[in-house]
């Protein structure tokens, strides 16, 4: 070695981070150079002092370099704390979302009840509730259980909810009863021809 080693090299020598040959050359220089020996002693004393002071403190930038394993533990701890914190926030958000959903459902429910009360006649309500009661809790003996024949906006349906036949027609068709067990739809198709569809219950 021709000159004095730099401060960085001395610091790295102190933390045993130099290659073997470089470490040997620094050690050899320190044994002969009082100035560098003093410089190195200051570095080592500072490092020892910092380590002692930070034993119960947060890691410093220097210590991060000096003690990777501790840095790793600290990082893991921070990650765990972060994850726990995010879980807490999620729970807060989740409970707020649940509240919003409950409020929306309550609003829709109120609107449905209001619409029902103003649009569905009482006897229809009784019939629907009776049908629901029948579906979930058994039917009354005198209730109609045969095939249903009815018109819907785009067709005439005969059958049951599980098995049915529907003859379709345009929504502009004129619908009327055909006899005592049939429904008829009459319309002019795109070719200008009149078509009449009838559906009969058995």
């Amino acid at each position: 070695m021709t000159g004095h080693p730099s401060s960085e090299l001395l610091a790295l020598y102190g933390s045993a981070d130099l290659p073997l040959l470089e470490r040997w050359r620094i050690r050899r220089h320190l044994s002969r150079c009082e100035h560098c020996e003093r410089q190195f002693s200051i570095f080592r004393a500072s490092t020892v002092e910092l380590k002692r002071l930070s034993a119960n403190e947060t890691l410093t930038g220097f210590e991060a370099i000096a003690d990777w394993s501790r840095l790793e533990r600290e990082m893991e701890g921070n990650i765990v704390v972060g994850l726990d914190a995010s879980r807490c926030i999620e729970k807060k958000r989740g409970s707020r979302g649940l509240l919003l959903k409950c409020a929306a459902a309550a609003g829709m429910g109120s609107l449905f009840v209001l619409g029902w009360a103003t649009h569905i006649p009482g006897e229809q309500s009784v019939r629907i509730f009776t049908a629901l009661r029948g579906a979930f809790g058994g039917r009354h003996a005198n209730e109609y259980q045969g095939p249903i024949l009815r018109s819907v906006p785009d067709g005439i349906v005969v059958g049951s909810p599980e098995s049915s036949m529907t003859i379709l027609h345009p929504s502009t068709a004129v619908v009327s009863a055909s006899g005592t067990a049939g429904v008829e739809a009459r319309y002019v198709d795109e070719s200008g021809q009149v078509t009449i569809t009838d559906v009969y219950g058995q």
Partner: protein
């Protein structure tokens, strides 16, 4: 539809319809097993081509829904002009009902063809399997009516009578409109055919039939059925009644009196419903067979119930009920329908008069008038008269 549903739909079709499922071949008798035709060999009308269009099968819960869109071309292979046709439509596996497609107001000369469309949905449990029927839907000829009012076909649905009524109504409308055109009564013509034009779509009616044991209803009240009398009718309604609760009519009855000495075989009773907004609809018609010639008056009753709603399913509150005799068939097979004069004299209400005169031919000619004007209507009347 997810992949599983597609797979199930495909599997179902493969099992139930065989290799021909989804075929769109033109041969109506051999290939398509979605739908088969049952036309007698000596039928004056025969299918000549057939297509299934965009027909599909879908899974819906534990059921399979078949969406059929069939269109076929029929040819008049007989020697007389064809005036109307009714075909039976049945889904034999379902056994819950049947349907029909009627094409009235035809003027199909021998050798000419005409199109017919059939759009339908069939919902059936996936587990139902096949019951040995040749196809899911069977289309059969029920009755073909010719211009001389003779008919061909088994007439299982009693469609011959209705085809004759439609043809007589068509002749009445064509003659009446031709007279208006000849007399250049443009205002009357507009009133007749532009009626309801601001409402681009007709007022729609929803219906539901209930037969079988009926429970009691709250707020049911007795309603009188008002008769609409045509002066020239051989049978006239004289009154009637029904129990009405909200949108439901139960046990309607009408009393009829015979006004002619001629023997009557049957008649068709039409009835009109007025809603709480004073709008009137022809609710339907009931065929009545009169068995005893000597009886001068008869009471027609029906034990069932019918519920009314508007087109979107909202219950319709019944305001009034009317009944009229739509047509009468005498024992010699001749049919009476009200003339234009009978309809004009029956009521001063233009809406009711329009409802009484409304026929398939009037509906068809009104569309021609709206699309092609007076010239188009005149050409059509020249072609058909």
């Amino acid at each position: 539809m997810c992949m599983g549903s597609k797979f199930l739909a495909g599997l179902f079709l493969a099992l139930t319809l065989g290799p021909a499922a989804g075929a769109t071949d033109a041969d109506p008798n051999s290939v398509p097993r979605w739908l088969t035709f049952d036309f007698p060999r000596d039928s004056p009308v025969l299918p000549v081509s057939f297509a299934m269009g965009s027909s599909t099968a879908k899974i819906r819960g534990t059921s399979m829904m078949l969406d059929l869109h069939a269109s076929f071309i029929l040819r008049n292979v007989g020697g007389k002009a064809l005036s109307g046709l009714t075909m039976r439509v049945e889904a034999p596996d379902l056994q819950s009902g049947k349907g029909s497609v009627t094409v009235p107001s035809l003027t199909v000369q021998p050798g000419e063809t005409f199109p017919v469309k059939l759009d339908m949905e069939i919902l059936r449990p996936i587990s139902a399997g096949r019951m040995g029927t040749p196809s899911l839907v069977q289309v059969a000829l029920d009755c073909a009516l010719f211009s001389d009012l003779t008919a061909y076909g088994p007439d299982e649905l009693h469609s011959r009578h209705m085809l004759v009524v439609y043809q007589l109504e068509a002749r009445r409308e064509r003659e009446y409109l031709a007279l208006l055109l000849h007399n250049q009564e443009w205002s009357k013509l507009r009133d007749e055919l532009n009626f309801g034009l601001p409402e681009e779509s007709p007022r729609s009616l929803g219906l539901e039939f209930i037969h079988g044991p009926l429970g009691s209803v709250a707020n049911g009240r007795a309603f009188a059925v008002s008769p609409v009398v045509f002066s020239g009718a051989p049978v006239q309604p004289i009154g009637g009644g029904a129990e009405v609760a909200g949108n439901e009519v139960r046990g309607p009855y009408v009393e009829l009196r015979k006004m002619s000495n001629r023997s009557v075989r049957s008649l068709e009773l039409g009835w009109i419903v007025r809603d709480d907004h004073d709008r009137e609809f022809v609710g339907g018609s009931i065929p009545v067979t009169l068995s005893t010639e000597a009886v001068q008056s008869v009471k027609i009753t029906d034990s069932g119930a019918m519920r009314f709603s508007n087109g979107i399913g909202q219950p319709m509150v019944i305001g009034a009920l009317r009944a009229f005799v739509n047509d009468v068939e005498f024992s010699d097979g001749k049919v009476w329908i009200p003339s234009r004069a009978d309809i004009d004299q029956a009521t001063n209400d233009p809406v009711l008069r329009h409802e009484l005169a409304n026929s398939p031919e009037q509906q068809r000619l009104a569309k021609i008038y709206r699309l092609k004007g007076t010239t188009g209507l005149a050409e059509e009347l020249k072609r058909t008269n």
